[in-house]
Symmetry: C2
Subunit: 279 residues, 2 copies
Amino acid sequence: MSLLAHWVDGVQGAPLAVDDRGAAYGDGLFESILWSRGRAVWWAHHIRRLSRDATRLGIAPPKPWFWQEDLDFANAWLRAEGCERAVIRLTLTRGRGGRGYAPPVPAEPMRMLQIHDAPGIDAALQPISTMRCRIQLATQPALAGMKHLNRLEQVIARRECAVAHVDEGVMFDTEGALVCSTMGNLLLRLDGRWLTPPIERAGVAGIARDHLIRHGLAVEQPLHEPELARAEAIAVCNSVRGILPVGSLDGQPYEDQKETHALQQALHDIEPSFLAMVG
Amino acid sequence: MSLLAHWVDGVQGAPLAVDDRGAAYGDGLFESILWSRGRAVWWAHHIRRLSRDATRLGIAPPKPWFWQEDLDFANAWLRAEGCERAVIRLTLTRGRGGRGYAPPVPAEPMRMLQIHDAPGIDAALQPISTMRCRIQLATQPALAGMKHLNRLEQVIARRECAVAHVDEGVMFDTEGALVCSTMGNLLLRLDGRWLTPPIERAGVAGIARDHLIRHGLAVEQPLHEPELARAEAIAVCNSVRGILPVGSLDGQPYEDQKETHALQQALHDIEPSFLAMVG
């Protein structure tokens, strides 16, 4: 998934400042957005989350029309290139600053839009292999829920998966609670419902997760190893791939994907850019 | 403390790649080094820590002679400018990568040297005001000890200090153990000794702290609120400023700075670039 084009503060191809606090301290946020059928899927939700989390960090969020202008550039670029699907990454940092953790006053936030190529169109239809990660997520309520730039735990988890030749990792927090997978939120099928763990102490408040909950397709509930062990099916969701069916966990297969396919279909009905298995 | 000059992979003034994983995920490390009397203080120790922590993260550390070449450039620049003191920041990231947390294979790490102006020469001699930070450090043994680029907790802590008009913050972890201050390691004077908390679950294995311990000037010991409350004196140490005397904690003054001045003198005897009160 390589970088195709980018805009920094509205300027195509502009470089990052070497003293940007995003690069120096991870002092910022990002969004990964599916671009499909000529538009950015769930755009308003992503901008709303980004603005909300910026406010939590004390970063003044750009007015939405700045992002809209960036998106207009991206739309024009993608249409001119004849792209059908892509991933748009938005990054917002506190901007440039000197040495030291104290945020500069005043700060001028930096915004960037990047266009990446998209995962294969049928990627979401193939069941993925998963494993329980050894690294546990630290619990930090001050950062939980945000899609911030401090992602070393996820990087370490992905390295574990790569070593094990497994597609994706299931992550617990240091207190033994299930939180998420490395690249999305987690869904367990239990007793006729899809359950997803809370994200108040660790994890990201995913946009796809939000949609599933608001449409009554999933319910938030604290989950631990016993629930994981007896889940009838598992899925991962994120706003780029939609619902990813889990084919196995630490080698144990999930044969019955019926409920997962039904969930894919339900998400497809909400947002047709997310694919579903055909009958 | 503004940026004066920089080198990216040995090239002066070169930009950061917009798809660098340091900027994308905080996937990297840094060092802050005092430059004084024509040389980088404790250079070998900083390079050793950076290399050790890179290995922990699975980032191939550059051979030391690459860093040495960067330092040669910096030395020449600083001497030509007639600088007496400066701060050198080294940054090492996993390098460029596409979207997604999985480290690229192979990865080409990015190294950067930045020259910043130094804090005032007598900064270390003035007692600083401190407060207990509300934000607690998450415990994450997989990252503890490293000076990595995931620094949002410190940024949030510094914002608390700024709001309170206090110089520096004392930080506990989520389990109630004392860990550090926002910009250095912590030293408590108790029962005739300088004590410093362990950094196995959170915090940074500071180079100044290491020197103090190895020279028998401080002892590592688990510390909590009761020890903080009854400390006769408090100091902060880091490898840019040396020993910073704490003048107050949440408004409670520490009148007697005798032991802190003795510690400054002891560090000055080890490394004369760190100042001590005269007589």
